[in-house]
Symmetry: C2
Subunit: 230 residues, 2 copies
């Protein structure tokens, strides 16, 4: 997956997680110096991570003005969700052409995880909900599709962080269940439409009555993500 230098990976990974988990909010500045101090690496190393995050659309890198967490406009937000609909539709259609047995098994195992941490660990619960979609994409066997879905799901987190009121935009567990059922039945149309309404629901809750609040600072937040690997 990430193939660059060993030292910049933790920086990349931590920043990425912090952004996805909405600890680093859209628009927050990401100074190379302070990030480097946090991870005890040089700016050179930090910069590599930032360049990559910029390429993935999670970070906005401007010449001579440094990096900040990407801060999508409302138009971009809609664009991102529309793209997600396209990609996840493809996922559904591919999965329904495959042998459903192993797919359903993997999905149900994941669903159990989701259930387990529901109302117990909110952060983890949200992360698992996102990973459900990534798992779906991975099960198609297409590395590229999985990559794109991964990327777009991350960017959706960013959109939610930017516009949604707190907790207003979680994935519904029952909806995940229904999607699995449709796949199990091999019903591509139903699976696709269930996914569509599922995503549409998330999008609506986020973008119908958007919430514009402002930003905070960096280092103290990042500190919690330093050795958060697994």
């Amino acid at each position: 997956m990430y193939k660059s230098s060993t030292r910049s990976f933790p920086v990349y990974d931590s920043l990425r997680k912090a952004i996805i988990e909405q600890a680093l909010k859209p628009g927050v500045k990401l100074p190379e110096d302070s990030i480097g101090e946090t991870f005890s690496v040089s700016r050179t190393t930090v910069r590599n991570a930032l360049v990559r995050l910029d390429a993935e659309g999670l970070v906005d890198l401007q010449p001579n003005r440094g990096a900040s967490v990407a801060d999508p406009t409302i138009e971009e937000a809609h664009d991102i969700f529309e793209m997600r609909q396209c990609l996840e539709r493809e996922v559904m259609q591919r999965l329904c052409k495959m042998d459903s047995k192993p797919i359903v098994k993997a999905l149900k195992a994941h669903l159990a995880e989701e259930q387990k941490y529901l109302d117990v660990d909110t952060t983890r619960s949200i992360r698992l909900a996102g990973e459900f979609h990534i798992l779906l994409a991975e099960l198609t066997g297409s590395k590229i599709l999985a990559n794109y879905v991964n990327e777009i799901v991350s960017r959706c987190s960013l959109v939610l962080a930017r516009f949604a009121q707190a907790h207003s935009a979680q994935c519904g567990l029952e909806e995940h269940t229904e999607i699995i059922a449709a796949i199990e039945a091999g019903d591509a149309d139903r699976a696709t439409s269930r996914m569509h309404t599922h995503l549409h629901g998330v999008q609506d809750r986020a973008l119908l009555n958007p919430d514009d609040d402002d930003k905070d600072n960096v280092s103290d937040i990042l500190a919690r993500y330093v050795t958060h690997n697994s």
Copy 2:
């Protein structure tokens, strides 16, 4: 588009073009030193460009082993083309929902360009053929979709460079014409299916009887030159 430092952009851009135009073939090593000399920049700058190209899938970056032009397997090649089908289908469907007037106008202008350089400047002709697809994506107005299409078209060039026999896999001009006609008629189904067969044609010519010469490394070549005293 590309927002990183001013000096690394030319490096990024030149490498990208060289790869797409198949001057740099899949698997070729890209040493930071020599590239830096070519552009009169430091390795630091080259590295930034390489990290980005790696993120885009055009370059393969391995820890402690440097960068080389991405060298997709035949499976990855199919994966790339399948993804491209998905993305360009989306493009067709979106375009056919829009006002066709300005779209068709832009497309016909591009087509004229293509016609102009056909049989005159092969390199340019091939590039224009690729840019037709990128233009289609841009006309949807979706930055993200356009980005993805741009990326996937580039990666298709890589696949062609890797597997196709020379000149076997160009875009047919008449097919572009037909696609424009379908859009003009507002016929989404026809536009989509025309695009599908168009892309399938390119793919088939490339991957049906692949020119899967192993990278002629030195020893393979030399093996044919050993003198047998007799």
